[in-house]
């Protein structure tokens, strides 16, 4: 889960990293009050979990509290790359002497974390890395040792950062470890004209797997701006909305991704990714079908299950029970293979629903579902 900038700022501040004074609000009137408290002149920043915010008009200077209110009013409710702006942060402006980039990112290949730092912050770091890789230092961190002040000095020196940034590098590592983050990034980290080092903007990605011991931020609702995704999440389903017409339900992330590809290979577009997981119950299947069928874009539905641990007769029972509670309005193609597949098919045959049909192979099922979507 990504944090909002104001949440990242709060974490940085708690760990002793200097940040500009700032407050967050969803009300233009309150924005005026905040600006007054912060000294009049402020930067108004839309709180959205996406990049390219500045270019989209999500970061603006306001010369006084009245301007801050007006700017907040314009910004609240606007959409930036599909993300609705629900809150703005107002921050004291900083007179910048130089801008740097620092982050810790997960290095999947090495199975550890990597410090990335550059004396050229403020711009797209990917751009700098692509055009002038020598301007970006990449320093692996030993997970057993972490970032000590000696290690921080090494990172700062490798990137050509001033030595006083080392303290921030140590504290940022503490944010990463204590918060179970997969990414912490400060861009820009600045030296002000008064010589102070401040984190002006930050990004923190938390590990969803660590939620059991990091309950502070609660569930991430921002990802579910799609109502179908919100409904699926409420039912505990692993669902991603896509923009096609063939609804897809399967078991196992790999097999479901593979099923989406097979549908695309047949000239149709998948409407979703929905993984019912191993040992799916009748209840899960009913929930899955109800979400898929409530998507008006869906013209046909493909259920692709390989019975490994899951028994296909249990899946078929689930479909039959789902048909009791969910009114089937679109054709359903079912491919059951593996454990107890024949019994599963017999159960569906027994139900003999006019809109339900079998396919014996995954490729055949994808073809049939694509065909039905096109003729619907």
């Amino acid at each position: 889960m990504d944090l909002y900038e104001h949440q990242a700022r709060e974490l940085f501040e708690e760990h002793g990293i200097v940040v500009p004074r700032a407050e967050v609000t969803d009300s233009p009137k309150e924005a005026r009050e905040i600006a007054r408290r912060l000294g009049g002149r402020v930067v108004v920043k839309a709180q959205v979990k996406t990049g390219g915010r500045g270019k989209a008009g999500g970061v603006k200077q306001a010369a006084d509290p009245a301007a801050a209110e007006l700017t907040a009013r314009q910004m609240l409710g606007m959409r930036i790359k599909g993300h609705r702006v629900g809150k703005v942060m107002l921050a004291q402006p900083v007179d910048i002497e130089s801008e740097f980039y620092v982050s810790y990112v997960l290095d999947r290949a090495a199975g550890g974390f990597l410090a990335i730092a550059s004396a050229e912050g403020g711009t797209e770091i990917e751009e700098v890395a692509a055009t002038r890789p020598e301007a970006v230092a990449r320093v692996p961190v030993d997970p057993a040792v972490g970032v000590t002040s000696a290690k921080a000095q090494e990172i700062a020196a490798a990137a050509g950062l001033p030595p006083q940034t080392a303290d921030v590098l140590v504290r940022l590592w503490q944010v990463l470890v204590r918060e179970d983050a997969l990414l912490v990034e400060v861009n820009p980290l600045v030296r002000s004209t008064k010589g102070r080092i401040l984190a002006l903007d930050g990004k923190v990605t938390l590990d969803d797997n660590a939620r059991f011991r990091q309950a502070r931020w609660g569930a991430d609702e921002s990802g579910h701006h799609d109502p179908l995704e919100a409904a699926a999440a409420a039912k505990g389903l692993n669902y991603v909305k896509l923009d096609g017409e063939v609804g897809v339900i399967g078991n196992g992330a790999g097999l479901v991704m593979s099923t989406l590809d097979a549908v695309a290979g047949c000239g149709a577009r998948p409407a979703d990714f929905l993984d019912i997981g191993g040992g799916a119950s009748a209840r899960t299947m009913a929930d899955a079908l109800s979400v898929i069928l409530s998507d008006p874009a869906v013209k046909s539905v493909l259920v692709n299950v390989f019975g490994g641990i899951t028994a296909c007769d249990a899946v078929a029972d689930g479909i039959v029970q789902a048909l009791e509670t969910v009114r089937l309005t679109k054709p359903l193609v079912v491919r059951l293979d593996g454990n107890n597949a024949a019994r599963g098919r017999a159960i569906l045959d027994g139900r003999a629903h006019p809109l339900v049909e079998h396919a014996t192979t995954m490729d055949g099922a994808a073809h049939r579902a694509a065909e039905l979507a096109h003729t619907a």
Binding site: L106, R108, A109, G111, G112, F113, E126, D142, P143, A144, V177, D180, L182, D207, D208, N209, A210, F212, R213, N238, V240, L242, G250, N251, G252, A253, G254, L255, V256, M257, S258, L260, D261, A262, V263, A264, G265, R269, P270, F273, D275, G278, F306, G308, I309, D337, G338, N339, T361, M362, D363
Partner: protein, 298 residues
């Protein structure tokens, strides 16, 4: 001979007395796995009956190893306890730890994989189905009756795609199938398995299954070019995955232009790997390659 797991392997189960542990220990025993003990500090000294077999429970991995000569452990403990369980197994000096547990925090995976690396313990997983050497031993949750023993080696990030390919190629059979797991940080990579299959006289051809996210497949492709002379057939899932969304597996995410299925497929093909566009086509490519290698075979 197979890789990592044979009928000689003596297997402990950490978390055997839990629901999943019981269910899968029973299945492993039925598949011929030599399960020599369970580990649970609160139930040390007891035994658990599975049909005809009685399996003792030890308080620690070290005790279990001392009593039974175990060299493999399969970990079923919940995510919050996985790190401690794996560190304990590595400290005891076990050769192979198969971590089935799904939902392990990445910082924990980083900690135990790097710790184990320095102590000679191979970790497979976390968030994986484990590995099976059909006809010999099964360490994990792969259904044992899908495929018979044979000459194909398989390495995969995905459990159900492993089962699908095993099913498609069940008549040829497999030396060993390794599910390495779909998390961003795993203990054993495609490359580790490719290296082991290359050395394994029982493996004639390798099936490599990948999916979006990271660059493990690209690195595997570079490794194949340099080090693998046996034929490799590949499959990559996730061509239709949108950028920036996690597709079920924690590691399955396209970030910007990185980690796409297309890039992985192209890298594998550039290394001479034939890549199927569906699991069924992948199986067909395997059959073609095996036929051309053994024209006298039926």
């Amino acid at each position: 001979m197979a890789i990592y797991l044979t009928k000689e392997s003596r297997v402990l189960v950490q978390g055997m007395t839990g629901g999943e542990g019981m269910k899968h220990t029973r299945r492993m025993l039925a598949a011929g796995t030599n399960v020599v003990g369970g580990v649970n500090p609160r139930k040390a000294g007891r035994t658990v009956g599975f049909d005809e077999r009685t399996v003792p429970v030890y308080g620690t991995v070290a005790e279990g190893m001392a009593a039974t000569g175990a060299d493999v452990t399969v970990v079923f403990v919940p995510p919050a306890f996985a790190k401690a369980a794996v560190l304990e197994a590595a400290d005891a000096g076990i050769g192979l730890a198969v971590v089935i547990t799904e939902g392990v925090p990445v910082h924990d995976s980083v900690a135990f994989t790097s710790y184990a690396r320095g102590r000679g313990t191979r970790i497979i997983g976390p968030n994986c189905p484990g590995l099976i050497t059909p006809g010999q031993s099964n360490a994990g949750i792969v259904p044992a009756d899908i495929a018979k023993p044979g000459r194909i080696g398989l390495v995969s990030k995905s459990g159900t795609l492993t089962y699908q390919l095993m099913h498609e190629l069940r008549d040829i059979g497999f030396s060993t199938c390794v599910g390495i797991g779909g998390d961003p940080v795993v203990g054993t990579s495609h490359i580790d398995c490719l290296g082991a299959f290359q050395e394994d006289p029982d493996t004639e051809l390798v099936v490599l299954i990948g999916e979006i996210g990271g660059d493990a497949e690209e690195r595997a492709a570079a490794y194949i070019r340099e080090h693998v002379t046996k034929p490799v057939v590949g499959y990559v899932a996730g061509f239709t995955a949108p950028e920036g969304r996690t597709m079920g597996h924690a590691g399955a995410i396209v970030s910007g232009s990185a980690g796409t299925a297309r890039a992985k497929r192209e890298a594998l093909e550039a290394a001479g790997v034939r890549v199927g566009s569906t699991p069924t086509e992948t199986a067909r490519l395997v059959l073609e390659l095996l036929d051309t290698r053994q024209p006298e075979g039926s």
